[in-house]
């Protein structure tokens, strides 16, 4: 577990990459076109960096970075199920979360451990990973052969991966096909052709 890269860090690195690229690129624009993206990119880059290195920040700054200042927590209650959530929904205890997290020098590990624990109890993250893979496949196959034809394939693959009973598989494949053809016929775009076929 120690030293493992968390998915949050991956997300932040991705955001940092995009923001940095857009920041650098913004200097090639005219003043008027560049100023706004430059400002937004600068804030995003700083934010991402702060969040990535927050475990190593000196105490007062770290506290500002992680301190809860808004008025409500969105999603976390139902999302994180137990641990994190209990803390932040009790609001004033958030600080515990921070301190607790940072005290274990490698904050990532502690947090990771926490959320893993949660996931093991309630959430099957392997299924989530499978779905992410299926999504990528759906997009690519759709791009190649057209969304109308990719839709039943995606639903079939999903049903296989998630072990759905045969009858229900048939039902949702039919629903997907009907939806695909209905969209294709109502909307003024062509969904039956992909880029290659």
């Amino acid at each position: 577990m120690k030293g493992r890269v968390t998915s949050e860090q991956l997300m932040l690195v991705a955001m940092l990459g995009v923001s940095s690229y857009m920041l650098i690129e913004s200097f090639s624009f005219s003043h008027e076109a560049g100023i706004f993206p430059r400002f937004a990119a600068a804030v995003a880059v700083c934010g991402c960096i702060l969040l990535l290195v927050r475990a190593y920040l000196p105490e007062p700054i770290r506290q500002v970075v992680t301190e809860s200042a808004g008025m409500f927590d969105q999603y976390d209650e139902e999302f994180q199920g137990s641990d994190d959530d209990t803390k932040s929904s009790e609001g004033e205890v958030t600080e515990d979360e921070d301190t607790g997290a940072i005290e274990g020098t490698d904050r990532g590990t502690v947090e990771d451990g926490d959320s893993d624990a949660v996931e093991n109890a309630d959430i099957d993250s392997s299924k989530q990973a499978i779905l992410v893979g299926l999504l990528a496949g759906y997009g690519l196959v759709g791009y190649v052969i057209g969304l109308v034809w990719a839709t039943p394939l995606f639903i079939l693959a999903f049903a296989k991966a998630f072990g759905l009973p045969r009858l229900m598989t048939l039902v949702i494949v039919v629903i997907g096909l009907v939806a695909a053809f209905a969209f294709n016929s109502i909307l003024p775009v062509n969904m039956t052709d992909g880029v290659i076929f």
Partner: protein, 498 residues
């Protein structure tokens, strides 16, 4: 004079087949609104050519009823499966969907129908009263005011972003940044397009919203077992308790209706923005109410009352200057012109009968929404007892198909899928989604009007404080930003004393 015109308008409205088109439009709108990806824009776009053969008033009433119906319809999927049927209902997911998870879907649905109808009705009645002064009011707002209103919305990020201020600001800035992709109106130079025209018009924020809310939630659900409504909870709530909840929160309802109307009147904004602003305002005025985001019925009221109020508001610039407030009103404007009704002062003088009949149609439409929503839509709660494994693939398929339908662009399909994954991780790690969304929807309006204001003032910031309206807006924004920062500083200074 006004009375006479109103009677004339009523006559237009109650004659057959006009009344029939009203009903057809509303029902079609509700259905279109329910299906993710098929927002009012697409619905209107598909129907517009078909209205070519109708009489002017019939065509406009049909179109506007679709618009109004879709605004309400968007809430249904938002509440039941966290999938905003339209961008205008995205904020409805924030509290509506948690209500569903708690087995209170019936409550949420009846709240949505009631709030939509009441908020919409207040806005329309106000619009009718204001009709003679609309042109004057519109002229009071220009680029600096629009910028400051957008800035105020962006400043609300500091209020709605909880968990960590830095996380919220980062998410918001990232949203703002992504909104700069494409060709900016005021600055006139394509950005981040990689010299392809697929990115020339930027990311479609409707696709972003569908991805973040719908697909993101589906990924999350994939890791869970059971149905949408937590299995250990029985389905509770009933139609009337929802109505009562709205009536017991009259201030939230009416205020949200007016916020929707006001935001709707800003060119380029529309309901996709008003529902978030209204929601954020409800959170702000709700003080430290922790329940927001966790099934607070006021959250649903704020979002739903505002998006129907927006319909009335968006007609103000459309009718007075031919400025479409949103994609849907752009098409509506086309409908007007197709039938020889040109926007401008004539719509408030010579053609005021028709204008009033459109307004009255909206009012009548809200009654239909109320009845239909309470009596029929509330039965849809049974969807929440279905195993999520059956819902997930269907929602993802419909969301992707709808995204492709937006512009026939693959970019939008990939946007939905990529932002679905991004949204999932944002939720998982407590990054404020609403901050991100505020950034991406307000970015273009803020930027366009900022650049223009500075062009007008030749670079001086004085333009934002030298008149009463900008000054008030600036002060409001400063107040919003200052309060949480003060809180952070105070708590940082006091350390662990709390």
């Amino acid at each position: 004079m006004v009375q006479e015109s109103l009677f004339g308008a009523l006559e237009i409205l109650v004659t057959w087949p006009t009344a029939g088109w009203l009903l057809v439009g509303l029902l079609a709108g509700i259905i279109i609104g329910t299906i993710p990806g098929l927002g009012p824009n697409l619905g209107l776009a598909v129907v517009l050519p078909l209205t070519m053969r109708l009489d002017g008033p019939d065509a406009i009433i049909l179109l506007i009823s679709i618009y109004s119906g879709a605004m309400y319809g968007g809430s249904i999927a938002a509440i039941l499966i966290n999938t905003p049927g339209t961008a205008a209902a995205a904020a409805t997911t924030l509290d509506g969907y948690p209500m569903t998870r708690q087995g209170r879907a019936m409550d949420a649905l009846s709240i949505s129908a009631t709030a939509s109808a009441v908020g919409g009705a207040f806005a329309i009645v106000t619009l009718i009263l204001l009709t003679p002064f609309l042109t004057t009011i519109v002229l009071m707002f220009g680029s600096p005011e629009y910028f400051l209103i957008a800035l105020f919305g962006i400043a609300l990020i500091t209020i709605v972003a909880q968990g960590s201020m830095v996380k919220g600001l980062t998410a918001g800035a990232f949203g703002l940044l992504l909104s700069t992709i494409g060709f900016p109106v005021a600055a006139g130079q394509p950005r981040y397009t990689f010299d392809t025209f697929i990115l020339y018009d930027g990311l479609d924020f409707v696709a972003v919203l569908i991805g973040i809310f719908a697909v993101g939630e589906m990924i999350k659900l994939a890791g869970e077992k059971g149905s949408l409504a937590n299995k250990d909870l029985s389905l509770s709530g009933n139609v009337l308790s929802g109505v009562r909840k709205v009536l017991s929160a009259p201030i939230t309802t009416i205020k949200s209706g007016y916020i929707g109307m006001f935001i709707g009147a800003i060119p380029g904004s529309g309901a996709s923005i008003s529902n978030f602003i209204s929601y954020a305002e409800a959170v702000r005025s709700g003080g430290g109410d922790k329940e927001y985001g966790d099934g607070n019925h006021r959250g649903v009221i704020a979002s739903e009352a505002s998006n129907n109020g927006t319909v009335a508001g968006s007609l103000i610039p459309t009718f007075s200057f031919g400025i479409p407030g949103s994609g849907a009103t752009a098409i509506l404007l086309g409908g007007l012109m197709m039938h020889g009704l040109r926007p401008g002062p004539e719509l408030f003088t010579d053609n005021v009968d028709i204008t009033y009949s459109i307004f009255l149609a909206l009012l009548a439409g809200n009654v239909v929404i109320l009845l239909f929503g309470l009596l029929i839509i509330t039965r849809a709660v049974y969807i929440t007892t279905i195993d999520t494994d059956y819902i997930i693939p269907v929602v993802i398929a419909v969301a992707s198909l709808g995204a492709f339908g937006l512009r026939g662009s693959w970019l939008d399909v990939f946007t939905v899928l990529v932002f679905g994954i991004f949204g999932f991780f944002m939720m998982k790690h407590n990054y404020s989604i609403i901050a991100f969304v505020l950034g991406i929807v307000l970015g273009p309006i803020a930027e366009e009007n900022l650049v223009r204001s500075l062009q007008l003032s030749e670079g001086s910031l004085w333009i934002f404080v030298n008149e009463p309206i900008p000054l008030v807006l600036t002060l409001l924004t400063v107040a919003v930003i200052a309060s949480p920062i003060l809180t952070v500083i105070r708590s940082a200074v006091s350390g662990g004393d709390r």
